[in-house]
């Protein structure tokens, strides 16, 4: 990237980091909401609701996807498109795995009668993890678009920018999941 293009990229990166900070505040408020309303009475207790295996498996998928994204990052700096595409494909499938496991988890809870409006604990749980899952879904769509971009005759510098911005996003979404694991699940599954 030329120095000039680099300057515009740094603008974009700073703007995106600030935006992620905004998202962080939004999630923080939802965490606060969850803490305020959990556990809530009457209605089910989180200890009875959470199913540990699917949570652990989903977490594994998501954290692994951050690791595979590092491969794509390496490919990006080495200008090796196969490595980028390979890393992205692995990230996509792991992310999709996470998303499907989330859906499965919700489905499982709902069939057991733990629906959205049963009590405030469940409402805040679904809103918080649901917003996160939507972020994952958006990331999956983003990856599809990036892959399409990679087959266009886009200037490499621009493709690199787009890919990098996505990487920040995906790591951020993973980071949020870490907090979900620590704040939402951990106190009630150990």
């Amino acid at each position: 990237m030329s120095k000039q293009a680099q300057a515009l990229f740094l603008d974009k990166r700073m703007g995106f980091f600030i935006y992620l900070f905004v998202e962080g505040i939004m999630f923080a408020v939802l965490f606060a909401t969850y803490i305020v309303y959990t556990p809530s009475h009457p209605g089910p207790d989180p200890r009875d609701v959470y199913s540990v295996p699917s949570v652990l498996l989903a977490s594994f998928c998501l954290f692994a996807s951050s690791a595979t994204l590092l491969l794509a990052e390496k490919g990006l700096s080495r200008k090796s498109m196969p490595l980028v595409r390979g890393g992205m494909a692995a990230t996509f499938f792991l992310g999709a795995g996470f998303f499907l496991l989330e859906i499965y988890e919700y489905f499982h809870y709902v069939t057991e009668g733990y629906t959205f409006t049963v009590n405030n604990f469940l409402s805040s749980f679904y809103i918080l993890t649901g917003l996160h899952a939507v972020h994952v879904l958006f990331g999956l769509l983003w990856m599809v678009v990036l892959t399409l971009h990679s087959f266009r005759t886009l200037p490499y510098g621009l493709y690199q920018e787009k890919q990098k911005i996505f990487q920040y996003y995906w790591h951020f979404v993973d980071g949020v999941w870490l907090f979900i694991l620590l704040i939402v699940y951990l106190p009630y599954i150990v």
Binding site: S2, S123, P155, G157
Partner: protein
């Protein structure tokens, strides 16, 4: 009024019918005028612009229209309150609730905010020597999101479903248990959409100020309006996401049957916390930019640099910081306990210190200066005592024990109008008079400007000073009537006269704009003998103001260059300008979000899903047709 339509009877209040008739009369006239004067190409140009001055002008224009709408609401309320046991038109009971809810929401979110953001857009990039906002496209998106929200909010009135739970939308009143009609859904979606736009503007402003300053413009050389904008944007970054989530939860409450804020398991006070964690920083978001405008105006028209520049910057930051630690002073009567009340009382009182420092520094800036009594300066002079009075009542209200008496009376109404009109609205007018040449290339008429200020400020003090007294006499706010023999009539009647004087002031201002447009003097680049960089470029500010960014070697560098009789040096290695372009996409994004909100409000789920998909398509379109595909690698040569 009831209208029989086939077998159904449609009830429409008289004011809504009057508004429809007005609309149907004024609308075609406006369209005809646009066609007659061949303005459509201009409209089309503004619909697609990403230029900061043009976007800023649109912000100011629509902010001002919404300000008039909110002002009319105020006049309706004052008319209803003019005499005891009054029955003016339809404005009693729930209709009155709708009017004050609309008035408050309109003024805060759709008048004060966009007017300030508009002025920031116009002035800040020029003042720091930037060639546009850092993200021109995003800037346009922010604007159209604001307008989508504003249109949504105004639409509610025409469909006779104005929100009616106050601008604070306190739960459980604002939940669907107590207000079933769509009014508060309009409130929450209108605020959601425009609030996201505001957040994006803050991101844009911060990057612009951090990364696009002219070479040599160090932090301690930056004018105070950009400083205030920076601190304000940081406040927005923390405050608005909280509102976003609060509204998000309220949406689940109203549309999807959760019970966070009502019912046995719910906690209505949680809404109050969330709302005021946003809401109190919000009042500083409104006040700080006005402080910045006044600092520049007072310095320019005193021919002196700002007194105590560092203290001014530090107190801006301190006010911003303390602004996050005072939210529960809105909740003294909730019963949070003596510890909480003491803490929030003390932090609230602390804010008076940095604010006091600013007031003294403005006074010392004028001291020994060559003061010129131009219209912006007169607004600044009117601001200082008015705002100080608002500050003093603020300290009174911060005394938690005394607040038990003041809470929810007209005393509070008087207090916040003294602070918000005193700072924000006077600041906006000072800014409009000051930067009008940069917006249109003409100077507003001074004589009419003085009439505007005189009528407005006289009316203002008549209206609101007396509310302190009615408030202390126990008159509750948000109540549509009072009795004879309560010792309230004379004060209220004079308040109403004052409100109409303010209205007359606004009429003079509009007349001033029309007059200036027809026969105003063309202003040169520097009509006020300014000190900051915006006066370096021609009036109105061109689309590409600085081909090379000027080199700043000291604070008020432009002024000292003029004094020394030299031109400012142009930088050699300037960074690439943001890439402006013409695109209709931002407007489409606004329109789609408007449609999405509307389908959510009426729970047309299919349309909601479709418009949600359309939003995603807009993302795709944006990345696919990225304007940098054509410019990447050529940033050094082209200034586009």
């Amino acid at each position: 009024m009831t209208l029989p339509i086939w077998d159904n009877v449609l009830y429409m209040p008289g004011d809504v019918i009057a508004a429809w008739i007005m609309m149907l009369l004024v609308g075609p006239i406006l369209l005809l005028w646009l066609s007659k004067t061949k303005k459509w190409p201009l409209v089309w140009e503004y619909m697609r612009t990403t230029n900061h001055r043009k976007i800023g002008s649109m912000y100011v224009l629509f902010g001002f229209l919404f300000f008039l709408r909110g002002g009319i609401d105020a006049l309706l309320m004052r008319t209803q309150l003019a005499v005891p046991e009054n029955n003016f038109w339809v404005f009693q009971g729930d209709k009155y609730n709708e009017v004050f809810s609309t008035h408050g929401t309109m003024m805060i979110f759709f008048a004060a905010m966009p007017l300030l953001i508009g002025l920031m857009n116009i002035a800040v990039p020029l003042q720091i020597g930037a060639r546009d906002m850092a993200f021109p496209f995003l800037n346009a998106v922010s604007f159209w999101m604001f307008l989508a929200g504003g249109m949504l909010f105004n639409m509610a009135f025409f469909l006779d479903s104005s929100p009616n739970a106050g601008w604070t939308a306190y739960t459980p009143l604002s939940t669907d248990t107590y207000t079933q009609t769509e009014g508060n859904d309009y409130y929450l979606f209108a605020l959601q959409v425009s609030g996201l736009g505001t957040t994006l503007t803050a991101v844009n402003m911060i990057v612009t100020i951090l990364r696009h300053r002219a070479p040599g413009m160090k932090w301690n050389r930056m004018p105070l309006f950009p400083w205030a904008t920076l601190v304000t944007s940081l406040l927005i970054l923390v405050a608005f996401p909280v509102l976003t989530i609060a509204l998000f939860l309220l949406m689940f409450e109203r549309l999807f049957d959760t019970s966070f804020f009502s019912g046995e398991a719910g906690n209505p006070v949680y809404w109050q916390h969330l709302f005021w964690i946003f809401g109190h920083p919000e009042v500083y978001i409104l006040a700080l930019p006005a402080f910045g405008i006044f600092s520049d105006v007072i310095s320019t028209f005193s021919r002196k640099k700002v007194f105590g520049y560092t203290a001014m910057v530090l107190s801006l930051c301190l006010i911003g910081f303390l602004g996050f630690m005072v939210w529960a002073h809105h909740m003294f009567t909730v019963g949070l306990g003596p510890m909480a009340n003491t803490f929030f009382a003390i932090t609230t009182m602390l804010i008076a210190i940095p604010t006091g420092i600013k007031v003294f520094n403005w006074l010392f800036t004028m001291r020994n200066g060559v003061v010129r009594f131009t219209v912006p300066m007169l607004f600044a002079l009117a601001f200082i005592p008015t705002f100080v009075m608002g500050g003093v009542t603020g300290v009174m209200l911060s005394v938690a024990a005394a607040d038990m008496q003041f809470h929810d009376t007209h005393f509070v109404v008087a207090h916040f109008h003294y602070t918000i009109i005193g700072s924000t609205i006077l600041g906006v007018f000072a800014g409009i008079y000051y930067w009008y040449p940069k917006i249109t290339g003409k100077l507003l008429d001074r004589r009419l400007g003085i009439w505007h200020l005189g009528l407005f400020i006289t009316g203002f003090h008549l209206t609101f000073f007396l509310m302190h007294i009615t408030g202390l006499n126990g008159m509750p706010r948000r109540t549509y009537t009072y009795q004879w023999g309560e010792n309230l009539f004379a004060f209220n009647f004079i308040s109403t006269i004052g409100a109409f004087l303010m209205g007359a002031g606004m009429a003079v201002f509009i007349w001033n704009i029309i007059r200036t447009r027809q026969s105003g003097d063309h202003a040169g680049a520097d009509p006020w003998q300014g000190r900051t960089l915006e006066w370096l470029v021609s009036s109105p500010a061109p689309e590409h103001p600085f081909t090379k960014q000027p080199v700043v070697d000291q604070r008020d560098a432009f002024w000292y260059a003029k004094q020394a009789g030299r031109r400012m040096a142009a930088g050699t290695d300037s960074r690439p300008a943001p890439i402006a372009g013409k695109t209709i996409q931002p407007l489409c994004i606004g329109a789609i979000l408007w449609l999405l909100s509307l389908s959510m409000i009426y729970q047309w789920w299919i349309l909601a899903v479709l418009s949600g998909v359309l939003v995603l398509v807009m993302f795709l379109l944006r990345t696919w047709r990225d304007e940098r595909i054509n410019t990447i690698g050529k940033e050094g040569t082209a200034d586009e």
